[in-house]
């Protein structure tokens, strides 16, 4: 189990380091060469518009990782309060009001939602993060609500109320803390799900500039030259897969350890 943690950390470490530190070393773009050429001073060749692929790889990680992180955090920023409030309130109509509409959203296929919303306004990175977060909120809220409802039904909450404890310490102090562990597990899986959605959305040309330095966009736009210059597709694709797979491995290892102690 120890080695799984190390393996996961390593696999996710490489793309993460590239994504966050890359832009510092990118420097200015070299002269533009004909598209899809190999060699000629370009370590990984040139991409579909003749830019140096290695320079793109260095720049391309940041948007994917940041959008994914932002989307996950945004999803929880909304889901946590809604889920907690839904579970803690004794007014059933309030709980129904909070939770039912979210269940309705579960029925909308997420990719269709992204395509439709994205073509209404062509969102930039921020728009894409908002969009992917929106798609994740219903499910995240449902999980928070389930975990919080269980914690809220415990006698400890009633004991706190008997003590006249403030709403804040009961809801966040006790219920929030006990929900934290389930959320950590869900956050891990959700992050990989969000990464998949961000990559697919970027691949479909949604939410990112068509020629943006973004790994998923690189995979899409450079596929035309795969026979001539495979690195422009293979390297970013491998980095995205490593990011999701490493993330998963890490989450599994952490979960395993938490369950053991």
């Amino acid at each position: 189990m120890r080695h799984r943690f190390a393996l996961g950390a390593l696999i996710v470490g490489v793309p993460l380091a590239l994504a966050l530190l890359g832009p510092l070393f990118a420097g200015d773009p070299g002269p533009r060469a004909p598209s899809f050429t190999l060699g000629g001073g370009h370590w990984l060749g040139t991409d579909f518009v003749g830019r140096d692929v290695w320079w793109q790889v260095l720049l391309g990680g940041r948007s994917v990782v940041l959008i994914a992180l932002a989307a996950t955090v945004l999803a929880y920023l909304v889901a946590l309060p809604v889920g907690l409030a839904g579970a803690l309130t004794h007014r059933t109509w309030l709980e129904e009001l909070l939770m039912r509409p979210l269940d309705v959203l579960l029925a909308v296929p997420s990719l269709l939602m992204i395509l439709l919303v994205a073509s209404v306004f062509t969102p930039g990175a921020v728009g894409l993060a908002l969009l992917v977060a929106l798609v994740n909120i219903p499910d995240a809220a449902r999980i928070v609500h389930a975990a919080a409802a269980e914690a809220a039904s415990r006698p400890a909450v009633e004991a706190l109320r008997m003590q006249g404890e403030t709403w804040w310490r009961t809801a966040v102090g006790y219920v929030g803390r006990s929900v934290a562990r389930t959320l950590a597990a869900d956050a891990g899986v959700r992050l990989t799900g969000v990464l998949y959605l961000v990559a697919t959305a970027a691949f479909l040309g949604v939410g990112v500039e068509p020629d943006a330095a973004d790994w998923a966009v690189m995979v899409d736009r450079n596929r035309t030259g795969l026979f001539v210059q495979p690195w422009a597709v293979v390297v970013p694709a491998l980095l995205i897969v490593a990011l999701t797979m490493g993330g998963n491995l890490l989450v599994d290892a952490v979960l395993e350890k938490r369950k053991r102690t």
Binding site: R32, P34, S35, F36, F48, V49, G50, S119, T122, F203, L204, G205, V206, E209, P210, D211, D220, R223, T224, G225, L226, F227, V228, P230, V233, V234, A237
Partner: protein, 540 residues
């Protein structure tokens, strides 16, 4: 309808840049081009297939009858129809061309070639044309008569409908036109139109039997192939029409299959599921050119690539700024980067290689210093401009990015704004100052009438000059070809000097065929007669 005499040559915009064309329109969506991408492809680039002799198109060896050819096109999905007058996309045109005929069609240089019409001669005033029909019969054996022609043209110009060729046939006064005899039609025009034959070759002006309304069940036409079956969005099958007037086709059967993804088309060709894959990406072509599995066919000068400047508003109302932009563009770098080298550089004029093209004008080169000087004169030293673009057409976004870097060298900062794919053309018609623009193959006269006259329907550069309109009218009423050419030359000289179109390149149209396919014409820009023409094709 504006009353300005709009001597409108056939409105024929090549469907190639029609955003509804799924292959192009969904440039962003899964445009899985470049053959089967994927990690395993590394090994592929290694293997050098045996490359067979030459490119297709040359009819080497004697044509053999027989066989069935499957052609993969990008289609319109379930709303496709066989009604020739409704054809909008490449797949529609290819199917219509197989089942029906037009009176005339465009040759390699976009000049009108006689088809169902054997000959045509105008009267002195160029406003009455007598067209004689060739001996031809429909699939049901009925001969093609003048009545059929008039019925077809009247159906197309039905005010209630929105058929594609309606605007092109506008100059004809169909009530006054009449059938002189069984095979002669006298067309009465509203105004002198020297380029009337271009009208007969207009996109979508097919001849259908009189009274024909429904074309999806059992369409009857006069084309080289007869109807067998049709499943919208999936496939259309037709078989050889033995008594076709232009000689019976070699193929026994022809099937059009729909594959909206470019990678699916090339994969199907590589996997032997189809013998003809239409519209491929330049990089795919380069990747498979010498692999020996398929034959790549490049149709030169098929599509004009340019930037359109609004000449009626700042900063492009000053012609010095326009000339400066002409000089900023490095056309070679744009063609190499955006079209991956598949095309030729442009000279800020439409219609390279077409009839009446002013190839005498010197080819412009990039001259940053002169551009800076011009900008300073015009008081626009550190100019900021927004360039509208969209993934609606191949090469747009790439070219925009490259032009932005080139403009930076001349001190001009260009901000790129990416618009929605589906309403791009309508948006850039009136708003913005600078945008990416492209156009399919059409006669130069049609380009001018459609985009550069005061009354033009799609005047993206807002080029509205009275004297320019008069020159166009003069050309339309000049009977003699040389004098007409001279007038066109003067118009193009004016555009070359101060026009709104910065034409940087002409893209090739690329398709691929299986190794055993012969007779596919290479010198046929998309939209012309020999493009997607299967009655001269045979299987070795």
């Amino acid at each position: 309808m504006n009353d300005v005499p709009m001597n409108d040559a056939p409105v024929n915009d090549a469907p190639v840049n029609d955003p509804r064309f799924p292959g192009l329109r969904r440039r962003g969506f899964l445009a899985v081009a470049g053959g089967a991408a994927g990690l395993g492809a590394l090994a592929l680039t290694g293997c050098a297939g045996s490359s067979t002799a030459g490119t297709s198109g040359k009819a080497d060896g004697k044509p053999k009858r027989g066989g069935r050819l499957r052609a993969a096109f990008a289609g319109g999905g379930a709303s496709e129809t066989l009604d020739p007058h409704l054809s909008n996309l490449f797949a529609d045109v290819a199917r219509a061309k197989a089942l029906f005929d037009k009176l005339a069609d465009y040759g390699p240089d976009l000049s009108a070639q006689p088809r169902l019409a054997s000959k045509w001669e105008p009267n002195a005033g160029l406003d009455r044309w007598k067209v004689t029909l060739r001996e031809a019969t429909f699939h049901n054996g009925k001969p093609v008569t003048a009545q059929d022609v008039l019925y077809s043209y009247r159906r197309i110009t039905d005010p209630k409908k929105a058929y594609r060729a309606k605007a092109s046939l506008e100059p004809i006064d169909l009530r006054a036109s009449r059938a002189v005899d069984q095979r002669t039609v006298e067309f009465v025009l509203k105004r002198p139109t020297a380029e009337f034959p271009n009208l007969l070759a207009a996109f979508g002006a097919y001849i259908v039997p009189e009274g024909a309304q429904d074309f999806d069940e059992k369409p009857v036409g006069s084309g080289p192939f007869r109807f067998v079956s049709f499943a919208p969005g999936k496939s259309a099958v037709c078989k050889r029409n033995e008594d076709y007037w232009d000689g019976a086709p070699y193929l026994d059967e022809l099937e059009f299959v729909v594959a909206n993804e470019e990678s699916a088309r090339i994969n199907a060709l590589l996997g032997g599921q189809v013998e003809y894959a239409h519209e491929l990406n330049p990089t795919t072509a380069r990747a498979h050119e010498d692999q020996g599995q398929v034959q790549i066919v490049r149709l030169r000068n098929s599509a004009m690539q340019s930037f359109a400047m609004k000449t009626d508003r700042k900063p492009f109302d000053d012609k010095r700024v326009r000339e400066a932009f002409f000089l900023i563009a490095d056309r070679k770098e744009l063609v190499d980067g955006a079209l991956s080298g598949a095309g030729e550089i442009g000279n800020d004029l439409f219609g390279k290689g077409y009839e009446y093209y002013a190839d005498s004008l010197p080819q412009r080169e990039q001259d940053i210093d002169r551009a800076k000087a011009l900008l300073k004169q015009a008081g626009a030293a550190d100019l900021k401009v927004t360039l509208d673009t969209s993934p609606v057409a191949a090469g747009f976004t790439e070219a925009a990015a490259i032009f932005r870097d080139q403009a930076a060298k001349a001190g001009v900062t260009v901000r790129i704004k990416t618009g929605s794919k589906d309403s791009y053309w309508k948006d850039i018609l009136d708003s913005g100052t600078l945008c990416s623009y492209r156009s399919g193959a059409m006669p130069i006269e049609a380009h001018i009438s459609q985009r550069l006259l005061t009354g033009s329907t799609t005047n993206a550069t807002k080029w509205q000059h009275k004297d320019f309109d008069d020159l166009y009218q003069q050309a339309q009423s000049t009977k003699d070809k040389q004098q007409r050419a001279a007038v066109y030359e003067r118009m193009q000289r004016r555009l070359y000097a101060e026009g709104g179109f910065l034409v940087w390149g002409f893209a090739d149209w690329i398709l691929a065929t299986a190794r055993n396919v012969r007779g596919v014409e290479a010198k046929a820009p998309a939209n012309s007669l020999d493009w997607a023409r299967f009655d001269k094709v045979w299987l070795a």
